[in-house]
């Protein structure tokens, strides 16, 4: 009896410790970024593009990177959603359970899921050379789309697979086709779909390796899909590599902006998914 109690206490303590580590590291990271980034954060930084000697301590801001990141993350999230959603519906509603095609698809995106993002960058780069494209916004969007499709498909597939089969049966037994049933399914899993988009967006906006070669770099705002574009992670990277201390400090400002963007998206998606889940069974 006594031993059981010790066991219980011991493992409870272990779990509390792990939880504290997670929460503490969250606050430590956010704290570091805020304390180091906040002083260098200014309206100028948010609203202006870098001047020529920005990385050596000159005037300007990182508007180019903010805009570039938003374009790439939003564009690739939409593009990835357009591809992922049909895949998930197809393998779950149209293919029979554990068909070889479904299994192959799942194996495929599981492998792609674990692929480092530099591989997508390299693949995108090869693709661009083959197509005769220059490093551009479009190139970046394509590379990031490739990177986040597996994340989206996998997350959505998990959600859809957890839907009880009785829901499908209920719809089918009313004489609904699989296409009509897909809309019922989407209503049921809407919050999960949102989470999937959010995860993919977060990965897309924060990734450096996939856009380094494909999106290129520019101090200007991209005017078209063919223009090269900078991204926030790239801005952080470039400024941190500067020998000038002031510029290094600004890197934390850029990191703070990146964190705030992700946080805002995350919070609004959470609120959205709450509203969407009111009909969920």
């Amino acid at each position: 009896m006594k031993w059981k109690k010790i066991e219980e206490q011991f493992f409870k303590a272990l779990m509390i410790l792990s939880t504290v580590v997670i929460v503490a590291s969250f606050f430590l990271i956010v704290g570091t970024i805020v304390s180091k980034g906040l002083p260098s954060l200014s309206w100028e930084m948010l609203s202006e593009i870098p001047t020529g000697d920005f990385y050596m301590g000159g005037e300007g801001g990182i508007l180019n990177s903010i805009v570039g990141s938003m374009y790439i993350a939003v564009g690739s999230s939409l593009l990835a959603l357009l591809i992922s959603l049909p895949v998930v519906i197809y393998i779950n509603l149209y293919l029979k359970k554990s068909s070889w095609m479904g299994n192959l698809t799942r194996l495929g995106y599981d492998v792609l899921f674990g692929m480092p993002s530099i591989v997508y960058g390299a693949f995108g780069f090869t693709l661009m050379i083959y197509l005769g494209m220059k490093a551009s916004l479009l190139g970046g969007i394509i590379a990031v789309t490739l990177l986040i499709i597996p994340i989206m498909v996998r997350t959505m597939d998990e959600v859809v697979r957890s839907v009880p089969k009785e829901l499908f049966e209920a719809s089918y037994s009313l004489g609904a086709t699989r296409y009509e049933t897909a809309f019922v399914l989407l209503k049921q899993v809407a919050p999960g779909i949102f989470t999937a988009i959010l995860l993919a967006f977060g990965r897309g906006i924060g990734d450096v390796a996939s856009v380094m070669f494909t999106a290129g770099f520019s101090n200007d705002l991209p005017q078209s899909l063919q223009d090269p574009a900078s991204t926030l992670p790239l801005a952080v990277f470039n400024q941190l590599s500067s020998p000038v201390e002031e510029v290094q400090a600004r890197a934390y400002g850029a990191a703070l902006i990146l964190t705030i963007v992700v946080l805002l998206i995350s919070i609004s998606a959470r609120m959205m998914s709450k509203r969407l889940s009111k009909n969920k069974i």
């Binding site: 359970k97 829901l167 049966e169 209920a170 004489g175 609904a176």
Partner: protein, 254 residues
């Protein structure tokens, strides 16, 4: 036992679950506008049999069906059979109620809508009529727009019944439809079945012998994938011919 005008006629039906021979040479005629119950121990295949009637096994790769199920004389397993129109003819009540993830109103309107009804007034009428048919109308008429998931489980089951009726089926399939319900809700559903059999053919899977006795006109005893005995309720439950049926209805095994 022969039925003069069967609504569903199962002929030499075999069903395999992978290597497992789940339903063995089933032959049964389901009479029109009567309640027929399938009784038998868990895992005997009664639910599997029920689901062959509206081809709900279609989406599993492991299931193979041989033989015929004639609905009004037409084989639903025919290559040219239209599966959605077959299913439209049968309302299904599952073990646990599964409202669609939408409002009470939309749950009922869903079926008519997918079959082409767009007129708002007609849909309003349909919703009201079938909610009244299942005696749910007084309880929900002021909150038709609220999510169906907020209803109690007994109300949800009646909603699911109304949803099934709204596509104007000929047959109601009930897969232990009261097993998740409290006694009062169970009683309501049973009373509904007795009313509904005026207009519909009802096939019920149940493991509650008293329920089979209360609501059904005919009972089939299913055991180990076979129909052991089929007959009028009183006869089968009180004077079974087969030894196996006797043992089951006396409660020697369940």
């Amino acid at each position: 036992m022969t039925i003069a005008t069967p609504h569903i006629s199962v002929q030499n039906l075999n069903l395999y679950y992978g290597d497992h021979h789940t339903l063995k040479n089933i032959n049964i005629d389901i009479p029109d506008k009567k309640v027929t119950s399938f009784i038998g121990p868990s895992g005997c295949g009664k639910t599997t049999l029920l689901k062959t009637f509206n081809r709900l096994h279609d989406s599993s790769l492991e299931v193979r069906v041989e033989g015929k199920v004639l609905l009004d004389g037409e084989n639903i397993y025919d290559k040219n059979a239209e599966v959605t129109s077959i299913r439209k003819k049968m309302g299904l009540l599952s073990q646990r109620p599964f409202p669609l993830p939408m409002s009470i109103y939309d749950n009922i309107a869903y079926g008519p809508r997918i079959h082409g009804e767009k007129d708002r007034h007609k849909l309003d009428e349909i919703v009201e009529r079938y909610l009244k048919d299942v005696a749910l109308w007084p309880e929900v008429k002021d909150r038709l727009k609220s999510p169906a998931s907020r209803l109690s489980i007994g109300q949800q089951q009646r909603l699911c019944l109304a949803r099934g009726l709204a596509v104007e089926p000929e047959i109601i399939l009930g897969d232990e439809p009261t097993s998740a319900l409290d006694p009062k809700s169970t009683q309501k559903i049973e009373e509904l079945f007795l009313e509904l059999k005026e207009k519909y053919t009802i096939v019920l899977v149940t493991h509650i012998l008293r329920q089979a006795r209360r609501v059904s006109d005919y009972v089939a005893f299913v055991y180990n994938g076979e129909i052991v005995e089929f007959g009028p309720t009183e006869e089968l439950l009180l004077h079974p011919k087969e030894k196996l049926t006797q043992d089951y209805v006396k409660g020697f095994f369940s």
